[in-house]
């Protein structure tokens, strides 16, 4: 899941983006419902979406809207432990694990009143998988799972015929209006989670073609997106629909009267695009916003404010942060050296002080709140003496390490955290390392080319609460795109790929858990990365916002947005 760790730079917006241990919880408020004209929710989505076509969306701020206007076949339940029915009332998996049959809700309608048909689902998935449109989330979720999609990379996007052949050859079928089947290349226990991704939505072929002025060849890259430009043509089957789009300003959502679950209580949700966290904070205090994420710098002020402290809540996210080492640069190829770095960071100080006790220390990979969380392996715990000893054992001198720079993105958060971390390394290991603060895109470009020494804080947010989504990051072939450390190239993580792939395709959950645990221990013990903290969001929510079901998977700064259908405003 794409993270926005603080906002990008320049003079621009500085945003930062963080007690409770319950993962997910309902916001119970006693109080009667306010009259219909007061059922208005104002939230801050942060950044304007790059596209309103859900299949093309890749960021959490886009999902924050896509999720309301469209509905996936299944969705994660509030606790994140399993999936629950959404647009599909039930589903079966064949005994060989290759065929998924989704039974769509009968009577479900689009926001313009048309019935939702299985053919719409087929069209939606094909739209997503059209190589010419280059949707960001296709790989690896859909092209490595759906039958026929494995040739995604080799389709000639200029050739409409080739694209059509590819799309027709996908394992997607609509045997009748209420049944949608997906056939896989191989069994995948996690596939039920893949269909919960907000990009996997049905699309109305007639709307797309009407907006484009008629049918068009599959290789066309602009016509298939025209429908997503205007509010009137963005027709979805989710609980809400878009009433208006004010570019760079806000999006207004109103109830979809034809939603199968009945119209929501909220009569209007305005998602604003306020990039500056201080401005959002001011707007919360003047009543223009009903929920915000408190900028890190203001956490203490909120805590000591008698009124605001009552409205503030901490919510865990399924996101872990760590520091990455470029294992292809000696001596970082030596796990002892990496472990020395990992063990010389005082995470207590980092998280309790610098991060104001919002983020919580974690020494392992999988965050608390999803299956696979296990804090028993404390190999990376802070121990300055042991860290020094490791360096000595490895025979590494300070000079060898002092030439390394800590690559830092130019956001306030990154600069602050890295300022602390490099100071820890210098103090505890007797080094004199420097920061290298650079523009964000350049950083990404450099790490893709492995042109860095140490980099961070980087992290991963769950796309869905299944471990497959996590462990795949460190595959050998992700070197240069997600596995920045490329530890396998330096000879580490032996057997990791095979182990994880086995766990991915295994159908027995217990066996999967055991295999993933072994892989996690490998990551920790070899200090592939230095785990730092799990991300928590410190949010202010107005007391009159009720019926919120907050989950660890909620989109950034939009508490409870997976279940806004049930939210309402109380009298105030």
């Amino acid at each position: 899941m794409h993270l926005r760790m603080g906002i990008r730079a320049l003079t621009l917006a500085m945003v930062g983006a963080f007690v409770v241990s319950a993962c997910g919880g309902t916001n119970e408020t006693s109080g009667n419902k306010a009259p219909a004209d007061k059922q208005v929710l104002n939230v801050n989505d942060g950044t304007e979406p790059n596209s309103y076509d859900p299949t093309q969306q890749t960021y959490t701020y886009e999902a924050g809207i896509g999720r309301e206007v469209f509905e996936t076949l299944l969705k994660p339940n509030a606790q994140g432990t399993d999936v629950q029915p959404a647009a599909a009332s039930s589903f079966d998996v064949s005994s060989d694990g290759l065929t998924y049959t989704f039974h769509l809700r009968s009577g479900a309608k689009w926001s313009d009143g048309q019935p939702v048909k299985a053919a719409d689902w087929v069209y939606g998935y094909q739209h997503l998988l059209n190589p010419a449109l280059a949707a960001g989330y296709v790989d690896p979720f859909f092209d490595t799972t759906i039958k026929g999609a494995d040739s995604y990379a080799s389709v000639d996007v200029a050739n409409a015929g080739a694209i059509d052949t590819f799309l027709q050859g996908l394992g997607l079928a609509a045997p009748d209006d209420n049944t949608f089947t997906i056939t896989l290349q191989h069994p995948a226990a996690f596939f039920k989670w893949v269909v919960t991704l907000w990009v996997a939505e049905p699309i109305r072929k007639d709307i797309v073609e009407k907006a484009a002025g008629g049918s068009f060849p599959s290789s066309d890259t602009t016509k298939p997106e025209i429908w997503a430009q205007k509010a009137e043509t963005i027709i979805g089957q989710g609980p809400f629909k878009i009433q208006e789009i004010a570019p760079k300003d806000h999006v207004t959502l109103v109830p979809n009267p034809n939603y199968w679950g009945g119209a929501p209580s909220l009569q209007k949700i305005t998602e604003w695009f306020i990039e500056d966290a201080n401005t959002a904070y001011a707007k919360y205090q003047t009543g223009d916003l009903d929920a915000i994420t408190v900028p890190l710098a203001n956490v203490d002020t909120v805590r000591s404010d008698p009124k605001l402290s009552k409205e503030a809540k901490v919510y865990p996210k399924l996101t872990t942060f760590w520091m990455t080492f470029n294992a292809m640069k000696s001596p970082l190829n030596n796990p002892d050296v990496r472990m020395a770095f990992a063990k010389s960071i005082d995470r207590d100080k980092l998280n309790k002080q610098v991060q104001h006790d919002i983020q919580q220390t974690i020494l392992s990979f999988i965050p608390k709140g999803m299956a696979g969380y296990d804090d028993s392996n404390k190999a990376q715990a802070f121990d300055a003496a042991a860290a020094k000893a490791l360096l000595q054992k490895a025979g590494v001198t300070a000079d060898q390490l002092n030439k390394f720079k800590l690559l830092t993105r130019n956001t306030t958060r990154s600069k602050t955290l890295n300022g602390f971390i490099v100071d820890q390394w210098n103090t505890n290991l007797g080094l004199n390392m420097q920061l290298d603060v650079i523009d964000s895109k350049t950083v990404t470009s450099r790490i893709r080319k492995s042109n860095f020494d140490i980099y961070g804080p980087d992290g991963w947010g769950a796309d869905y609460p299944d471990q497959q989504d996590w462990f795949d990051i460190f595959f050998t072939n992700s070197c240069g795109s997600l596995n920045w450390g490329c530890v396998q190239k330096a000879g580490g993580l032996k057997g990791y790929d095979e182990l994880v792939q086995k766990a991915d395709t295994e159908l027995d959950q217990n066996q999967r858990n055991a295999d993933y645990k072994t892989a996690q221990d490998q990551l920790i013990n070899e200090a592939v990365v230095a785990f730092l903290f799990q991300d928590y969001e410190y949010n202010l929510i107005k007391p009159y916002v009720a019926g919120l079901t907050i989950t660890a998977g909620d989109d950034q700064s939009l508490p409870g947005n997976f279940f806004w259908h049930d939210a309402y405003i109380t009298q105030h």
């Binding site: 790989d139 602009t222 001011a282 964000s440 350049t442 470009s445």
Partner: protein, 342 residues
């Protein structure tokens, strides 16, 4: 308008009517303006060339994400194909110029399906409104304070102006903006129980415009005031002004008739580019006050490597600045009739 014997006059090949036109003052001015407008073409062209080269030299591609899941190689390859980025740079350049001549500035990489013209055209009115408002504040306040300070040199008024100018210049405008929001929005909301406060940002043709315009205007007011003061002081010391004082003419008359005109040249010189910058937007003010304008457009385009938007905003800005400088040069002639433009 007779032709002087033996020496063909400029424009002697033109029909007589046109010759009369170019020889009159208004005519030569008009001619000058036309020539300047034509010169804008090579200027904009060079700007495009430079921007193109720089854009493609900067590290990082439009498809690198700032964090989390990166796009796979396949997707990147297909995206490059979609937007023509896989062609050689020369070809991309010529294609771009060709399209620009047809007024097609391309599609944004960031906002799928939206054209650059649409994005810039949609955001510009907001930016321009705030910019113009700020400018309407800057001119009277800045020039007025400056003249006042000069006429009352070394008095309290002068020192007060200097103090204000120093304050305005030592705080970058996002800090001033944020402080204004703290005071006029949050604190005032608290103190008046929500009755009377300025909105903490956002767009509206009402009190939403006050804080952004004032924030934008502060530093230019400070600079304009000090500049006007300095220039006025130079003018006041001229002999002919002393003569006017000596003759006993009332201060106001002297100021308006003589001082103002002559001290305005440097002021007008800086007000031109100031107007251009104001009207094409300030990143900071638009971010802090969430104005949906184009001020951020250039910066965001650069940081996300949205090439068509980078080019589009740069072209817009170069045109605006060229026009502003042209207006300034023309104003010189009106302010000081002795100025000769070539």
């Amino acid at each position: 308008m007779a032709v002087i014997a033996g020496r063909p006059k400029r424009g002697a090949l033109l029909p007589v009517g046109l010759t009369r036109l170019t020889e009159s003052r208004a005519g030569s001015l008009a001619f000058y303006v036309v020539r300047r407008v034509l010169w804008m073409i090579p200027v904009v062209f060079f700007v495009i060339v430079i921007t193109f080269v720089l854009m493609h030299s900067a590290q990082g591609s439009p498809w690198d994400k700032a964090g989390g899941r990166q796009l796979s190689d396949v997707v990147i390859r297909n995206l490059n194909e979609k937007y023509g980025l896989n062609k050689p740079v020369f070809e991309q350049f010529f294609l771009y110029i060709w399209n620009v001549l047809h007024f097609d500035f391309g599609l944004s990489y960031q906002y799928q399906g939206k054209t650059v013209v649409e994005l810039i055209g949609g955001g510009w009115p907001y930016t321009a409104t705030i910019g113009v408002l700020a400018f309407l504040l800057i001119v009277p306040v800045g020039v007025g304070l400056g003249i006042l300070a000069a006429l009352r040199q070394n008095t309290r008024v002068d020192y007060a102006t200097m103090g204000f100018a120093t304050f305005a210049a030592s705080f970058p405008n996002f800090v001033i903006g944020a402080l204004m929001v703290v005071f006029f929005s949050v604190l005032m909301y608290k103190w008046t129980g929500g009755d009377f406060f300025l909105p903490a940002g956002g767009w509206g043709v009402d009190d939403h415009l006050i804080m952004p315009a004032v924030t934008l205007a502060l530093l230019p007011i400070a600079y304009t005031a000090r500049l006007t003061r300095a220039s006025t002081l130079e003018t006041i010391r001229q002999d002919y002004i002393r003569t006017a004082w000596a003759k006993g003419l009332p201060e106001r008359l002297v100021v308006i008739r003589h001082v103002l005109k002559n001290s305005l040249i440097p002021v007008v010189t800086t007000l031109g580019p100031t107007f251009a910058f104001l009207v094409t937007g300030s990143v900071i003010v638009e971010t802090v006050f969430t104005i949906p304008g184009i001020g951020r457009a250039f910066v965001v385009a650069v940081t996300s490597r949205d090439y068509p938007m980078i080019l589009g905003t740069t072209v817009l800005f170069s045109v605006v600045i060229a026009v502003a400088n042209l207006v300034v040069d023309v104003l010189y002639v009106f302010i000081d009739p002795r100025v000769r433009l070539s």
